[in-house]
Symmetry: C2
Subunit: 327 residues, 2 copies
C-alpha cells in the first residue's frame, strides 16, 4: 500500500491536490475489536472519489469473515457491478507463455450477483444429515448493465471482440438468460464481433490461445476463476490489478490487487507491490487521469524489462517505479 501511494504521489501533476485518508480495516482490526467494517466507516468511505484497498485475507481469521465482512461488503454496498481485470503479457516475467505475441485482453467480471450474493444456507449443520445450498442469483437488470459495459469497452478497442463465458449447457436458467441478453444487447453494437465459450473450454483457450481474447464478460464466480488463471499465464498474480467499478458514479469505485495478502511475508519487505501500483493506474484512469495511468503502466513495463534477476525489496521496487514515473 505504501508503495502504491508513493507512486501515486510521484506521478500526479503539481496542480492536482491529493487528499488521502487511511482506514484501519482487516485482520489486525478484527482481532482487536471483532469488527470488519462498521457502518460509520462505510458511510465515511462514501465521501471519497476512489478507494485503494490493500490485499486482504489472513489465516488467523476464519475463512470468509474478512472476505464477506469487508471486501464483498464494500463491493455490494457500493454497487461495484463492473469488476475490471486487464491481462497483458508484461516483459521479462515467468509466464509459461512468455514469448507469445499480443496477449492483451480484459475481463469484465460481474461484481454484485451470481453465487456471491450470500444466498443459501445450511440445515442440520455438522450432522450426517446436513444439507448446504448456495444460490446463484442473477437478474436481467444486473446482467444487462454489465454486458452493456463490456460491449462499450469492446467497441472502444481496436479489435472490437467480445466473448461471453458461462456454462449454459448445465446452468441453463442463468446461462440462457445471460446468453439471451448478450445477444440482444449485441444488436446495438454491430461492429463488435461476438463469441460464446463454456467456462471449462475458456480455461483451455486461456492457456493455449490467449491471443484470441479481447474483452471477456462473465459472471462473478467464473470471473474470479478466469482472472487468477489469466494472471498466472500472463506474468504472475504479482502483477494483476483490478478495479471494482460503479460506472454511474453513485458510489466510489475501489481498486485492489487481484492477489491476497501473503501474510507469510507481510512486513519482511519481500512482497511485490507491482499489482498495487498497477491498481493505482486503473484508479487514475477511472478518475480521468489517462496520461498518468498510461505512464505508470509504461514504467512498470520498463521496470520489469530492466530487471536483472536479483531480489529487490518491496521498497526498492516502489522507489524504482516512483522515480521512473516522476522523471
Amino acid at each position: 500500500m505504501a508503495q502504491g501511494l508513493k507512486v501515486l504521489t510521484a506521478v500526479l501533476p503539481q496542480d492536482v491536490k491529493l487528499e488521502t485518508q487511511e482506514y484501519d480495516l482487516g485482520a489486525q482490526r478484527w482481532h482487536r475489536t471483532g469488527e470488519t467494517l462498521p457502518d460509520a466507516e462505510l458511510e465515511s468511505l462514501k465521501q471519497h472519489d476512489a478507494i485503494l484497498l490493500g490485499a486482504i485475507g489472513d489465516p488467523s481469521v476464519p475463512s470468509g469473515v474478512l472476505e464477506r465482512g469487508l471486501l464483498l461488503k464494500l463491493r455490494f454496498a457500493f454497487d461495484h457491478f463492473v469488476n475490471l481485470r486487464p491481462s497483458k503479457l508484461f516483459p521479462n516475467t515467468e509466464s509459461p507463455l512468455a514469448g507469445r505475441p499480443d496477449i492483451d485482453f480484459v475481463v469484465v467480471r460481474e461484481g454484485t450477483e451470481g453465487p456471491y450474493t450470500g444466498n443459501g444456507g445450511s440445515l442440520r449443520t455438522g450432522t450426517p444429515a446436513e444439507v448446504a445450498t448456495e444460490v446463484s442469483v442473477n437478474t436481467a437488470y444486473g446482467v444487462e448493465r454489465v454486458v452493456r459495459d463490456a460491449y462499450e469497452r469492446a467497441n472502444a478497442r481496436p479489435r472490437k471482440k467480445l466473448t461471453l463465458v458461462h456454462k449454459n449447457n448445465v446452468l441453463v436458467y442463468a446461462g440462457h438468460m445471460w446468453k439471451n441478453i448478450f445477444d440482444r444487447v449485441g444488436r446495438e453494437y454491430p461492429e463488435v464481433t461476438t463469441d460464446y465459450l463454456h467456462v471449462d473450454a475458456a480455461t483451455i483457450f486461456l492457456v493455449t490461445q490467449p491471443e484470441r481474447f479481447d474483452v471477456i464478460v462473465t459472471d462473478n464466480l467464473f470471473g474470479d476463476i478466469l482472472t487468477d488463471l489469466a494472471a498466472a499465464v500472463t506474468g504472475g498474480i504479482g502483477l494483476a490489478a483490478s478495479g471494482n467499478i460503479n460506472p454511474t458514479g453513485a458510489f466510489p469505485s475501489m481498486f485492489e490487487p487481484v492477489h491476497g495478502s501473503a501474510p507469510d511475508i507481510a512486513g519482511t519487505g519481500k512482497a511485490d507491490p507491482t499489482a498495487t501500483i498497477l491498481s493505482v493506474a486503473l484508479l487514475l484512469r477511472h478518475l480521468g487521469h489517462e496520461e498518468q495511468a498510461a505512464r505508470i503502466e509504461a514504467e512498470v513495463a520498463a521496470d520489469l524489462e530492466a530487471r536483472d534477476g536479483s531480489a529487490r525489496t518491496t521498497d526498492e521496487i516502489g522507489d524504482a517505479i516512483a522515480a521512473r514515473v516522476a522523471g
Copy 2:
C-alpha cells in the same frame, strides 16, 4: 468410438468374452425422434457391466438438451458420484509445460450434486424483470462418500497427498461443510497429507506448479473447470480420459473422453481417438483388468513418443495403438 472398441478387442486376453451392444443416442437421434434417453434404453443400459460413451454435444441441438437429457441424466440415474479424471504429462505433446517433471495427478470430481442438480429456475423469463437462479445442493451424505473415495485413492498412491479445492471464503455454507467433512474423514487416514486451496488459487498452481498435486477432490462444477485446465496443461484435451464411477457397483460405471464431440470434424477422419482409447483403459481397470489397462496406457505413451509430426487419420491412430497393445 470405433477406435476405442478396436483397442479394447485387441487388448483382451482370449479367455475374456466381450459382449457389446450399441445404443444410438445423441444429436442424430434427437433430430430424428426428439428423444434423448428414453426410459426403456435407460433400463436396458443398467444390465451392462460398463458403458463407453462417445463424446456428445452438437451446435445443431440447443445448448443443454443433450447435456442434461443424456449425459447428466446417466450420471445422476446411475449415481456416478466419483468422476475420475487422471492427468499425466504424456511425451511429445504440445503442452506449454512440456519438459516439466512428474506431472501425475488425479482429480476426483463429485458427480451427483453441487450446481449440476438442475435446481433453480427463471421468473419473468425474457423480460427486463427476469430473475434466474441456480442452486448448488450439497449433502453431507454426498460429500462424505466422495471425500472418502478420494482419501482411499490418495492412501494407495506413493505420495499420499490429498488437496481439497473449493471456495469456502465466499461459498461459506457449502464450503465449510466440505472442509469440515474433509478434516473429519482425514483423521481416519493419518498417513495422507492434506491441503486446502481456493479454486481460483488452484488454477494458478495447475499452471505454475502442477507437480504439487497428487489427488485433488472437489465439487462438480469446480471439477469440471479444473479438469479441462489440467488437460490443457498436460498434453491437450485430446488426451484426457474420464470415468463416471459408482464404486458400490449398484449401477454400471461409464467412461468417456473429457472433450466434446467436435462436430466440425466428425466423419472427416481427423478426430484424435486417444482420449476415448484411454477411457477404455479406465474401464478395464474398473472391471479388474489392471494389466490390460496399464498396457493401453503404456502403449499410448509409446505411440505419442513415436509420433513424427505427420498428420494421421483417426483410423491410423486406432490401428497403431491396437497393433501395439496386441503385439
